[in-house]
Symmetry: C2
Subunit: 276 residues, 2 copies
DNA sequence: CGCTCATTTGACAGAAATCAAAAGCGGTGG
DNA sequence: CCACCGCTTTTGATTTCTGTCAAATGAGCG
C-alpha cells in the first residue's frame, strides 16, 4: 500500500504498476487512465479470504496486482470446485451481469486494483477501444477454459498431473535455469497449495501425492520440497502425460505467444503466453 | 438453401431466419444488417464433416442456423476431446486470432450463416454496439465453460451423467409434456451420439451405458430408445447427481435466464438460458 | 518440547477402463 | 422375404486406478 502515487497515464496508483502493461490497463489511453485512477483503489486480502461471494451482486471488478485468486463454486457441503485460477494482471469480477456465478477467493495473499463495476462499465461505454481489448482478452480466456476442459477430460490422474507439470515448467521458469556447472535445471513450482492443486485437477491430495512420488521414483522429476520439483526427464514426462508435446502445447496454448504477458495458468488462462 | 430472400434488416438471408433473434444478429441495426447480408452466405455441412480445422487460419465465422457443432481437440492418435457443443444461434469461429485452437466439426447435419472473418472484424470496428453484444455473449460463454469444468470435476461418472440429464431435461423439453391422461412427461434427449456424449463427459460409451441402465433399473428414468428417455423421478435424479438442485442450477446457469435465447448446452453454453 | 497442520504412506473397497462378446438395428442385395 | 453386413449399444469378466479411511512422518511455531 506504500508507493502510491497518482499518475495520469497509469491505471494503478503505484508509481510503477507491475501489471499495467499486461492488464486491461494497457488499453487505457491517458484520458481513460485518469478516469480509471479516479475510481480505482488498491485492496489487499489475506490468503483464504473471500473477495467476491458466489451469487452476490457483482459490485467490484479490477485487476490482480499480486498473488493468486481462486475461482470456485462452493457447494453447501463445503466441497469447493476450482474452476479457474487468476494470476497477476488478470481481470477479476463479472461485468454486464447482476450476479457473479463463481466465488473469488484469495489463494495466497493478494493485492487487487479494484474499481466499482458500474463505473467500469460506464468507462467502457465511453472508450470502445478498451472494450475491444476486453473482448480480445475474454476470447483468449474462453480458449483457455476450453483447453482446461481438454486437460481434465484426460483419463488418468497421472496424465493430468504430468500435463500440469509440463505446463507449469514451460510457464514458470522463474528459478535460475543453470547451476555452477552450467547445467540447465528446469524448476517446476506449484503456485498454490497441494489441496488446491488436487481440486484443480479433480482429484484428492492423496492421489496427487502418489502420482508425484511415482514420477520421482521413475526419475522423471526430483522433489525439492512439496511444492518445488526439478524436471529430470522431459521426454518421459511427456510419455506420462500420454499426449504428444505438440498436443499439449496446443491445449496449453503455449504456441500462441502474445507480446507482453505474464505467466498464467489454470482454467482461467494457463494459456496464451510463453514468457520463456 | 431455399427461401433465400435478401432482407435489409435481417442478417441471415432467409425470409424468416430462425435464429436471428438469438444470434449476434440481434444486435445488428439496419445498416449493420445490410452489410452483414452483403458478405454472409449460408453453408451446409453433413454430419461428421469438418467445418474449421484445428490450427488453421480462421477465415470463416458466423452463426449456426440448424444442427449441432462439436468443438474438439483432435489429437494425432484420433482420440478426440470434446470441449464444447454449439447449438443453433451460437456463434462459431475465432475472431481476433490468426489461428483457431479447436476444431469445429458437424455433429449433425448443419446449416451455417457464415461470413469472412476479416469482414466481420471490420464490421465490428464500425459498429461498437455489435462488438459490445459479442463481449456480453462471450462472457456468458466463459461462465458456461467454467460451469462445465465444475461438472466434469465431479467425482463419479454417475454424478456427471445425472447432472447432464438434469440439464438436458430443463433445457430441451421439446416433446409434448402431457399425455392423454394429462400426466406430464419429461422427455430427455441426447442431441448427439452416445460416443460424443461419452467424450463430453470424459468417460467411455460402456460406462455411460452402464450408468444409464442403472438409472433405468432404479426407476429414475425410462429408456425410450438409446437417445431418448423419460424422467420418472426428478428427486432421485438429483440424488444421483449428488448435488443440491440449486447448485446444479447454478452450475448450469439455469437461473440466469436471458430474454430471448434458444436452448443450448455443453461446455459452450449449456447455461445462460431457460426456455422453460 | 508439544502443538498444529500439511504431506506422505499403507490398506482396502469401490469405480471405471479395458477387453471381449452378444444383441439390436438399418441398409443392401440376393 | 431373408441373409448378410456394418454399426451402435449393451452386457460380462477382468484389471487397473482411485477415493476413502487411517496412521505415520515431517515442518513450522509458540
Amino acid at each position: 500500500m506504500k508507493e502510491i502515487v497518482l499518475s495520469p497515464n497509469r491505471c494503478c496508483k503505484r508509481k510503477r504498476c507491475v501489471v499495467v502493461d499486461h492488464a486491461i490497463c494497457r488499453a487505457l489511453g491517458p484520458d481513460a487512465a485518469a478516469e480509471f485512477d479516479r475510481y480505482s483503489h488498491l485492496h489487499t486480502f489475506k490468503s483464504g479470504q473471500m473477495i467476491v461471494g458466489q451469487g452476490e451482486d457483482s459490485v467490484m471488478v479490477g485487476n490482480i496486482v499480486s498473488g493468486m485468486v481462486k475461482l470456485t463454486i462452493c457447494t453447501e457441503e463445503g466441497n469447493q470446485q476450482i474452476v479457474g485460477l487468476l494470476y497477476p494482471s488478470d481481470f477479476f469480477g463479472r461485468i454486464f451481469s447482476d450476479r457473479t456465478r463463481f466465488c473469488y477467493e484469495a489463494a495466497t495473499d493478494v493485492t487487487l486494483c479494484a474499481i466499482d463495476r458500474r463505473n467500469f462499465e460506464k468507462l467502457l461505454e465511453r472508450y470502445p477501444e478498451v472494450e475491444h481489448q476486453l473482448l480480445v482478452d475474454t476470447l483468449d480466456e474462453l480458449d483457455a477454459a476450453r483447453g482446461w476442459i481438454a486437460l481434465i477430460n484426460n483419463r488418468t490422474t497421472m496424465q493430468r498431473v504430468a500435463t500440469l507439470l509440463f505446463i507449469l515448467m514451460r510457464r514458470l521458469p522463474e528459478e535460475i535455469p543453470t547451476d555452477r556447472q552450467g547445467i540447465v535445471h528446469n524448476i517446476i513450482r506449484f503456485p498454490i497449495g497441494r489441496r488446491d492443486v488436487a481440486d484443480l485437477l479433480g482429484t484428492t491430495p492423496e492421489t496427487l501425492s502418489r502420482n508425484i512420488q511415482s514420477l520421482s521414483r521413475q526419475g522423471v522429476i526430483r522433489i525439492i520440497d512439496p511444492n518445488r520439483f526439478e524436471l529430470l526427464d522431459e521426454t518421459r514426462l511427456l510419455d506420462c502425460a500420454g499426449e504428444l508435446e505438440e498436443d499439449i502445447e496446443f491445449i496449453a496454448g503455449l504456441t500462441d505467444q502474445r507480446p507482453a504477458s505474464p505467466p498464467s495458468i489454470g482454467p482461467e488462462h494457463f494459456d496464451e503466453r510463453e514468457s520463456a
